[in-house]
Symmetry: C2
């Protein structure tokens, strides 16, 4: 059965992005520290057209996350934010002509727009009918594989609160940002979780959790 999963890097004090996010700095102040473990990996660099990089205990975690997914759901900011409806701002997102997703991506938005087919197998489909409709489309497109929520935190929170997420991956990074965007807030209180795997990587701890209903 196709599952819905979400994974994110998180600081030890619970932030998935730093404070003062902006178009220029979508990760917020200090937010890049959360992703250092992954951008150093040879596997991540390969997927982003770069050479070199490291192979370590985090590599298998990264590979597993990507191998299992057949489609992706993301928020509009993750696709590439920007003010106003699409008609006034027809850009193609943060990701360039050849995005690193290589699979169908469903973008939650309030502004309808025609699908965008880019190089390398990435198609962006814009969904205005809410999280349930997006999940239905994404499951169909995943063709038996899992659906991955790929950010941002607001999208993940909605799916979590609706009880639709099966697996959560937390890449816990030992930094203290002090402020920023939390994944877990009072809307997540009482969501039951079971710890199913823990992997120690260099400068990061990978936790795999399953929701318990």
């Amino acid at each position: 059965m196709s599952e819905l999963r979400y994974s994110t890097s998180m600081s030890l004090d619970g932030f998935v992005a730093g404070p003062d996010q902006s178009l220029e700095n979508p990760l917020g102040i200090g937010g890049q520290l959360l992703h250092q473990w992954v951008v150093e990996l040879a596997a991540w660099r390969r997927d982003h057209g770069q050479e070199g990089g490291e192979v370590n205990a985090s590599s298998a975690v990264y590979e597993r996350e990507n191998a299992g997914a057949g489609s992706i759901i993301m928020g509009r900011n993750m696709f590439g934010g920007g003010p106003g409806p699409w008609a006034e701002d027809p850009w193609q997102g943060w990701w360039g002509d050849d995005p690193p997703f290589h699979m169908p991506v469903f973008v939650l938005t309030h502004h309808a727009r025609q699908p965008l087919e880019l190089k390398g197998g990435t198609t962006f489909t814009f969904v205005t009918e809410g999280i349930g409709a997006a999940l239905e489309l994404a499951r169909e497109a995943a063709d038996g594989k899992d659906v991955a929520i790929s950010g941002g935190a607001e999208v993940a929170k909605q799916y979590l609160a609706a009880g639709l997420v099966d697996e959560i991956g937390i890449h816990l990074v030992p930094v203290l940002l002090g402020a920023g965007v939390r994944l877990f807030d009072d809307s997540s209180a009482g969501i039951g979780l079971e710890q199913v795997a823990v992997v120690e990587g260099p400068g990061v701890t990978h936790l795999t959790l399953r929701t318990v209903r």
Copy 2:
């Protein structure tokens, strides 16, 4: 060199105690979930005069924490809170006649009081001169072993913010309390940490971190 360490159980959303703490429920609502991993251990039960219990990957973590310490610092609430100065409230704390500490304990308080010597090697000394004075006394009493901060979070935060803590142990429990007492807040932003060990226990992940100056 004698080091200062603090360890605590913490929920995945960053709380070391649940909301609505009271004299009747010092752990706050849901707070007991944070300590389930430890009270199930045979080693913890032995130290608290109980039989049975489990031996698992968390046992060594628990034993290491206790073996290395020669003295303890705690806040007044951890000793056994209560309204008013001691003279009006001369009780002996939460811990009974034979507390589970078996070493010198230094209690931070604003209310001076004579030391309290109980069974099993536990003496409570009440320190009114602040965290620096308490650490000095505790180091002397530890006789070359480490000094452990044993709660509550407010005491640990003060030592952290003063840059006096050498090692932090986080027993991360996959529950979401939604509210309560945080160990890390904006006062901890920017404290440098290095992840030195990760141990997967049943229903808990034990992180050992060192502060970087």
